[in-house]
């Protein structure tokens, strides 16, 4: 089994499990939609104001929706003993963890990207800005899953781990939020946004390299 088939095999398993628990996918999606829709109720119906704050609101919604499923990323496997079995595999545990993170992104991040055009229309965003917002989400939401996995691994088996996870991870999400929302804002202002996109891509690579590895180490500690 090569590198890709290890990742594919784990991602496929977690996606199969997610499809059999459709509520998990729908909960994250509805949570995202509700968070994004609550803000107009609070700040009023001014279309100019709403379209100005929309990218930031969508990004905060995406961030919180990703956070929602993170405590369960490894918890079920830990409880039923499958995580222990996975750690005994002669295959790279880091790649196994990467497969799980990819599945988490497909379940929690991808639906957010796909529903964003609808919310963009609701916020009176123009087509190109919606496109830019989707692009930043495609680049940024994997970082949320990757960094979140580290927190999920570090808090595995800890009582009250969900709260601790939020406290641990939310500060680390700040750069993604700034660059993600900043790119859409820069585009609206007619400025060059490529710098933001490159920074998001760099965060992607950095997180892709380190997060599965660090998560795997933290999980092995949790299993001891």
């Amino acid at each position: 089994m090569n590198l890709f088939s290890t990742i594919y095999c784990m991602a496929r398993r977690d996606l199969t499990l997610a499809l059999r628990h459709k509520t998990e996918i729908l909960t994250a999606l509805f949570f995202f939609v509700i968070v994004v829709n609550l803000l107009p109720l609070g700040v009023g119906p001014d279309p100019k104001l709403l379209s100005k704050i929309a990218p930031g609101v969508v990004w905060i919604g995406a961030l919180l929706a990703t956070l929602l499923g993170l405590p369960r990323l490894f918890a079920h496997d830990y409880q039923d003993g499958t995580l222990e079995q996975l750690s005994l595999s002669p295959r790279s545990f880091t790649l196994i963890v990467l497969g799980k993170i990819m599945a988490h992104w497909i379940v929690a991040g991808l639906p957010v990207v796909l529903i964003t055009p609808l919310l963009g229309i609701q916020f009176n965003l123009s087509g190109p800005i919606i496109g830019v917002l989707m692009l930043t989400l495609v680049l940024g939401t994997p970082v949320l899953s990757l960094i979140g996995a580290i927190g999920a691994a570090l808090t595995l088996g800890v009582r009250g781990g969900g709260v601790l996870l939020s406290l641990l991870i939310l500060p680390l999400y700040i750069p993604v939020l700034i660059f993600g929302a900043g790119a859409a804002e820069a585009y609206r202002a007619g400025l060059d946004m490529t710098g933001y996109l490159w920074l998001l891509a760099a965060l992607d690579l950095l997180a892709l390299f380190f997060a599965p590895w660090v998560s795997a180490i933290a999980l092995k500690v949790a299993l001891e």
């Binding site: 089994m1 003993g81 499958t82 079995q85 002669p90 790279s92």
Partner: protein
């Protein structure tokens, strides 16, 4: 290949579970770890599987310290612990397919169906594991004994929840494994009905 445990001590929290445990397991040998509840049987097995680290002492496989070549050791090991190790929403067929892939010895669907049938689970291969009884789940887990070819089996209470017929089947498998040159480290609260082996009391 042999499993060598030297001067092993284990601590959980503030409590010293056992100390200065040493034994050596050669091919064709098996070891029955006995002791009261909480004596540290499971901890010893987890240490031998490389799942946790000892307070002191060393464990080597084929003369190589386990932490020095953990992946190589895991190729030669099948560890079945207390927990089911099965995903309840997946079917026995899906669970075993995945585990065989993760074990690095992908099994065909026919091979898995044949093993499930061997354990009396024919017709249950497409049911979610959550609807199976405890004994049936145990048999699904034990199916891995026939799907992963490796010399060292470490089994924690493998007879739990099994009926008489399944217990006899498992004894046949264990005896067969040992007679073919395999090594077996097992905990069980019931007396083992096997040829003479090493007994380690904690």
């Amino acid at each position: 290949m042999n499993l060598s445990v030297k001067d092993l001590s284990c601590q959980r929290g503030e409590r010293l579970l056992f100390e200065h445990v040493s034994f050596q397991l050669e091919p064709h040998q098996w070891c029955h770890v006995t002791g009261e509840n909480g004596a540290g049987k499971t901890s010893l097995l987890r240490l031998c599987a490389g799942l946790s680290s000892p307070l002191s002492g060393s464990i080597s496989w084929g003369g190589v310290n386990i932490p020095d070549d953990l992946d190589g050791f895991h190729k030669d090991l099948l560890y079945l612990g207390h927990a089911s190790g099965l995903k309840e929403e997946l079917t026995p067929l899906e669970n075993l397919t995945l585990m065989s892939q993760i074990d690095g010895q992908p099994a065909t669907e026919d091979a898995i169906l044949s093993v499930l049938s061997f354990w009396g689970l024919a017709g249950r291969e497409d049911l979610p594991v959550r609807v199976l009884s405890a004994g049936q789940r145990r048999r699904v887990l034990l199916s891995r004994l026939l799907l992963k070819s490796c010399p060292l089996w470490i089994l924690d209470e493998p007879f739990n929840a099994l009926d008489k017929k399944a217990i006899n089947t498992l004894y046949d498998l264990l005896n067969n494994h040992v007679s073919q040159g395999g090594l077996l480290l097992v905990t069980s609260h019931q007396p083992m009905e096997m040829a003479e082996g090493i007994v380690l009391s904690l």
